[in-house]
């Protein structure tokens, strides 16, 4: 156990000065953003794996060029499709 491994309790929290509180708020905002990107990456990897990595057996653990290109296209087209859906949804709402 290193010196920073300990349970943080209320009395420790009260020791935080304003500067460190601001820094922590920023840190957690960044972490929330990072975590959202990571969970979206998990989702997209699942979707694009199905479409792009189709060879039955795996001779090597590396991606080949075509798989790599397919994965990049898959992510970009998924985002395009997402945007197209949102756009169409907006126009449907305007027609109502």
């Amino acid at each position: 156990m290193s010196s920073t491994d300990f349970t943080i309790d209320q009395t420790d929290i009260e020791k935080l000065n304003d500067k460190d509180k601001t820094e922590l708020r920023q840190f957690f905002a960044n972490e929330e953003h990072r975590s959202r990107i990571q969970s979206q990456t998990h989702e997209l990897t699942g979707i694009c794996w199905k479409k792009c990595v189709t060879s039955g057996t795996f001779r090597s653990g590396a991606l080949d060029k075509s798989e790599q290109g397919c994965l990049a296209n898959c992510v970009d087209r998924f985002m395009d499709a997402n945007l197209a859906t949102m756009k169409h949804l907006a126009s449907m709402r305007q027609q109502q």
Partner: protein, 86 residues
């Protein structure tokens, strides 16, 4: 404990928690996808071919994750850039 060490401890614990959660999700997904692909008809034990397939599949899935992550981040930054222009 002063303010700085409390802050550092909080950051350390939070990073550990999110990194563990991320690794756990990745491993769960790898198990699911690679089992599906490498063990189509489960026998009485894993064959050496199935084992080789599983390790290659795992490495490949991680490479795919990194590729998807890099592309996704690039795309998000691009969208933010477009928003700022319009």
């Amino acid at each position: 404990m002063d303010s700085d060490s409390v802050k550092k401890a909080i950051i350390k614990q939070a990073l550990q928690a999110t990194n563990t959660a991320n690794a756990r999700t990745l491993i769960e997904n790898i198990n699911e996808k690679c089992f599906e692909r490498c063990v189509p008809k489960p026998g009485s034990s894993l064959s050496s071919g199935e084992k080789t397939c599983l390790t290659s599949c795992m490495e490949k899935y991680m490479a795919a994750w990194n590729e998807v992550n890099a592309t996704y981040i690039r795309r998000i930054q691009q969208e933010i850039g477009n928003q700022n222009l319009s």
